[in-house]
Amino acid sequence: MTNYCGYMGKVVLLDLSTGKAENYIWTDLDREKYIGGKAMASKILYDSLTGKETPFSPENLIVIATGPLTGTGAPSSNRFDISSLSPLTGITSSSNCGGNFGHYLKKAGFDALIIRGKCERPTWVEIDNGEFRFHDAASLWGMKAGETQEALQKELLAEHGKPVRCGMAVIGPAGENLVRYASVISGERAAGRAGMGAVFGSKNLKAITSAGDAVPSVFDKDKALEHHKRWVSYIRSHPLTGEQLPRLGTAGLVSSMQVHGLLSTRNYAKGRFEDFEAVSGEALAEELNVSNSGCLSCPIRCTRRVPVEGKTVKGPELETLGLLGGNIENRDLELLCRWNYELDELGMDTISTAGTLAWAMEANEKGLWKNGLSFGEVDGLSQVFDDIAHRRGIGAELAEGSKRLSEKYGGKEFAIHSKGMELAAYEPRRAVGQGLGYAVANRGGCHLNGGYLVVLEGLGMNVNGQTPRGKADLCMIMQDLMEAISMGGQCLFTSYGVVPAFMIRNPNGLLAKTVNAVVPWIGPAVRVLNKAPEIACFQLFLLPYTYELNYTVGMKMNIGKFIRAGERSYNVERAVNARFGVSAENDKLPKRLTDMPQDPKRPDTKVPLEQMNMTYYRARGWEKNGLPSEKKLRRLGIR
């Protein structure tokens, strides 16, 4: 039970080995400290995992967590999080998804679902108004994500005698076959990164459906509604959330990344792809985009819908355009859209698939691993993807990811990963703060968990991307802010509204130029704010999240507490990783990015990582080994 609104007041622990569901104690004090989503999941993993578990052991947990704003009508608040030990990295990881499962998990009466153990045979689990039912999934095993969801609808119809409105989280063949970067699919949306689908597969868990009639309460309906309206109107008026994202989606970044030398090309050998226009957001909009769509309750609607095989399906995001475009020297946009669909259907992360493929192409070119794959030779790749998902032929090896392959065959210097997770499409040698973020990110090569500094270093703003000055502090504060934003269940894309509109509308103006020049110097101020967030005991319209937590949840929240919650989340995740052997030693990037300038004529076009790492640990108040001390954890209230 809880005294706060927005929550359902229940966290449940489901043991697949015994079939028993029990209440997991989660208090209002926990809610105040961790709010929800990934932060909540990280604390549950911190309290439950000892450091001895492995990703595929039955003792590994899957935590599916929602935020208190999900289902309350707050804008873009439909996201849910899946956390577990990642088969790709071996450490804790999370994957955020815009599908409907979180919304319906709350309708079934739960804020979070913790899964442990293993089913004896392929199973799907039905959650119905707080009750759990186990069903044989033998007939579903082997099915792709879309057909699995259709088959589940039919089974639910047969069982209940009427169609059941529900949320689903399912895996495709990749998850069943323990592909280390298999995803979980909810509707058309993927919890793509970190191999959460393989953890499902290791537990013989094909799918979960969730349905119910519960509705989260709202603390102050009038104020909440008024605030939603104000926020939606701001989102719609902002050039990023009201124009770029709805009209071009994330795909709109390709051209800008090209100009800034940020577009991963030829397995990150270069930051520019000569044929970038063929696989750009503009080409997608002009040639293929049928319509837009969006996650539930989202006014931004950034999703592209494209035609594939006579159907209209979800189109590729920027990461997929970059990594299955220039990074493997593919110029065929229609083919790329088809791969995007096929990979979702197989239940496989497009980023890690593409990153592993690019590594394999280069390894083949260099004679390290003769696998028949070459840059620019794109015919037949659909078959390769299918082979990965079913672990056939070279697919069985590609299913292991670029880190393991480079350890086996050589070529570590061009295996573009951090902690085992392949990097997103932003080439960091022209945005060194983003490079730092990739290296220190708790879940490995993730642009968002890494603080997403590239948004300041060329995209959105024009802060010097080569200087390390201030980047450690900015990386920390951005990581903490993004942690905090997603705790409520909200989409991180709403945070682009935080970039002042004048920076976007007039980036050549004096004011924008001054801001860009000043940003690298604000490190010390950021550090003061981080040491004493209590000084920020106010709210800001540009950070509407605190208002939402006040009005919808009834939680007394200000900027300082919000930042502290983000910091706590980042630290608790790091503390779990420490149990699994993570330290400064793991905060690395491949030599291609740290030792080889992108532009041979400009020695500064590489990531000066060692220099920034130490500053980052100091900013975070961590030890030299890159870990939070006992004192730090106590100060944050984690211990």
């Binding site: 124009e243 770029q244 994330t250 703003m461 024009n462 980036p507």
Partner: protein, 84 residues
């Protein structure tokens, strides 16, 4: 003669992808871009002011809007974008 390419919402709004023009500087280019856009879409909402707010790249590298141009240059004009 320089080649001009438009990107982002500017391209979607104007319907202009690419054209060639005689201009010795980016500054000289703005009225020519506007003329090209108006020829394609008379009721366009694009103004010279909104063009001046675009980022400019010449031969692939971002430059100042005050940059000079040389014969054969490839000029990109694109509004600032973020987020993915």
């Amino acid at each position: 003669m320089v080649t001009v390419k438009l990107f982002g919402t500017l391209r979607l709004d104007s319907g202009v992808r690419e054209f060639t023009a005689e201009a010795a500087s980016v500054k000289e280019l703005y009225p020519l871009v506007l003329r090209e856009i108006r020829a394609k879409k008379a009721d366009t909402a694009v103004t010279e002011r909104s063009l001046r707010a675009c980022l400019v790249a010449v031969n692939g590298e971002q430059v100042s809007p005050r940059a000079k141009l040389r014969d054969g240059d490839l000029v990109y004009l694109f509004p600032a974008v973020a987020g993915g």
